[in-house]
Amino acid sequence: MEKNEAMKPDHQIIIDIIHEGAHVLDLGCGNGELLSLLRQYKSARVQGIELDEEQMHACVEIGLTVLQGDIESGLVDYPDQSFDYVILNQIMQEIKKADYVISESLRLGRKVIVGFPNFAHLSARLTLLLSGKTPINEALPYYWFETPNIRFLTIRDFIDYCAKKNISIEQQYYLGKRGRISFLPNLMAQNAIFVITK
């Protein structure tokens, strides 16, 4: 797909990953921005799960199908391989049972797309080292007392996790301040997107 300036870089990457007409589940779909892009550019058949009522109303306003529920309990009822892709974008750091959600996602999706902010990014390391404060940057924009994030993970953490759990990493994308990077990702990337399969 052509590069669209208005589109968030992580959305751009996810849209490029997903094939035409795919059946997609977005966990924590928010106001449905990504799903509506997938519907528009990839004619994807999309379903969202979201907890926030206002965000859900926004989804219904643009004609998306969305289920109210938390991510942990929203997955159990789907049969195996119900979706071509399950998306866990910018949500891993907010989920209580991350391991369970990833394994369930791998059960009901042929492929799972995981996107998260990299806590080992250089600016985060320097902030912690030099000022002794919790890092705040574009990918992690919250103070400690207002953040929805309950866990912090790094690119290396995630790769280790996949190896330990026998999850294969099919594709990986690293995002720096000005787009995609490949050099020293665990140091230079603010965000990472992985495509994983069981």
């Binding site: 009522e53 859900m56 219904v60 004609g63 289920l67 529920g69 009822d77 789907y78 119900s82």
Partner: protein, 382 residues
């Protein structure tokens, strides 16, 4: 000038006087076959319509009513100008916008508001059916509605919508006729009646049948079993509200300033229940209450009965529950959603915040309007 404008605006917002219409089918040579194995005919259905059916008959929405509802869902009745039971949701510019949609509401069979029920005259005896009336199920109600939709020349309904028992009819439509509806909006309902729901209905029925004026159903010459029916309705009203909504509405307020130290209605909540109970006697047939509560109890689309024949349904669902509803708790709507997930159905589910209990589906108009309007606007997109 301003007043004239205001009046015009009011006119636009209202449907005005709406007359109930009647459709009779299943003449004795072709009676309506019922789930019980019995049959009945002829059958009359009372119905109302709002808005205009478009040329290709693709804008029809069927509204299904709850236990004590009727065909008068919107507009004003000709006699006493009473607004319909869902008038806030149906009309020009409302959620079911009658400038855009053709809205139909009919009285269920077994009822007493113009459709054939136990108080109707049995053509064989010339007397009311009373308990000779066959047992009716939700599937039978939907079958009668299907005859009406055929009669109106509509091949495919844009949507079926209803709360409580209306929601069960909606689910039954999606199960029995998935090819004849594009969308379904079941609200505050369940795939099957739970033991608690059956228990409440049994107490309701027993209170009617314990009244000696019920006379085993043959009371039509003598008048309704008023006491039993009133108590039955009081039980119902308790289940429609929530602990919180009762606290807000009545608290422990007294009708008079002090306690009477007698068995009179000291508290406002007692007065309310008595008023509701005795008002109901004037407008609803006791036998119909027995038949319809039984139909509710028999309802069970769990297991593989829900949308049984199609692996993937194209019907789009909007399922709505209310957090304070303890008569049809949210978990029952979540059971519906669970079944729909297994069928890979397009499903949107909202568990709306409300303190009104089961009554919320008639009261939380703002949230429902927003949801239903946006949902309907996108049905054709897929």
């Amino acid at each position: 000038m301003k007043i004239v404008k205001e009046r015009e605006k009011l006119k636009k917002d209202y449907l005005g006087i709406v007359h109930t219409q009647y459709f009779t089918f299943a003449e004795p040579s072709h009676p309506l076959q019922l789930k019980s194995g019995r049959s009945i005919g002829p059958v009359t259905i009372a119905y109302e319509t709002y808005g205009k059916l478009n040329a290709d008959k693709s804008n029809a929405i069927l509204v299904c009513h709850a236990l004590s509802g009727d065909a008068h869902a919107a507009g004003l009745s000709p006699d006493d100008k009473t607004p319909g039971w869902w008038d806030d949701l149906i009309g020009p510019g409302k959620a079911l916008d009658t400038r855009q949609y053709f809205v139909i509401c009919s009285n269920v069979i077994g009822g007493c508001k113009g459709s054939t029920g136990p108080s109707s005259v049995n053509p064989e005896t010339g007397k009311p059916y009373a308990l000779d009336f066959p047992m009716i199920t939700i599937a039978d109600m939907v079958e009668a509605e299907r005859y009406l939709i055929d009669h109106l020349g509509i091949e495919k309904l844009l949507c079926v919508i209803g709360g409580s028992m209306g929601g069960m009819q909606t689910l039954q439509w999606a199960s029995a006729y998935p090819d004849r509806i594009l969308a379904a909006i079941p609200i505050a309902t369940a795939l099957k009646h739970s033991p608690q729901q059956i228990a409440f209905n049994e107490v309701i029925r027993q209170s009617i049948m314990a009244d000696s004026a019920w006379r085993k159903g043959d009371y039509y010459e003598y008048g309704q079993p008023e006491k039993g029916l009133a108590v039955a309705r009081m039980i119902g009203h308790i289940t429609f509200m929530s602990d919180q909504s009762m606290e807000e509405k009545f608290s422990r307020k007294l009708k008079n300033d002090n306690l009477s130290f007698q068995f009179t209605d000291d508290f406002e909540v007692e007065g309310y229940l008595r008023y509701r109970g005795y008002n109901f006697v004037k407008r609803f047939d006791a036998n119909s209450y027995l038949y319809i509560t039984k139909a509710l109890d028999y309802f069970d689309l769990s297991g593989n009965y829900f949308i049984p024949d199609v692996k993937k349904t194209s019907v789009r669902f909007l399922v709505i529950s209310f957090k304070s509803d303890w008569l049809y708790p949210s978990y029952q709507s979540q059971d519906i959603v669970r079944a729909l997930k297994r069928k890979h159905a397009y499903t949107t589910y909202f568990d709306l915040i409300s303190t009104y209990g089961h009554d919320a589906f008639l009261i939380e108009i703002e949230d429902e309007t927003r949801l239903v309007k946006n949902f309907l606007a996108h049905i054709h997109q897929h």
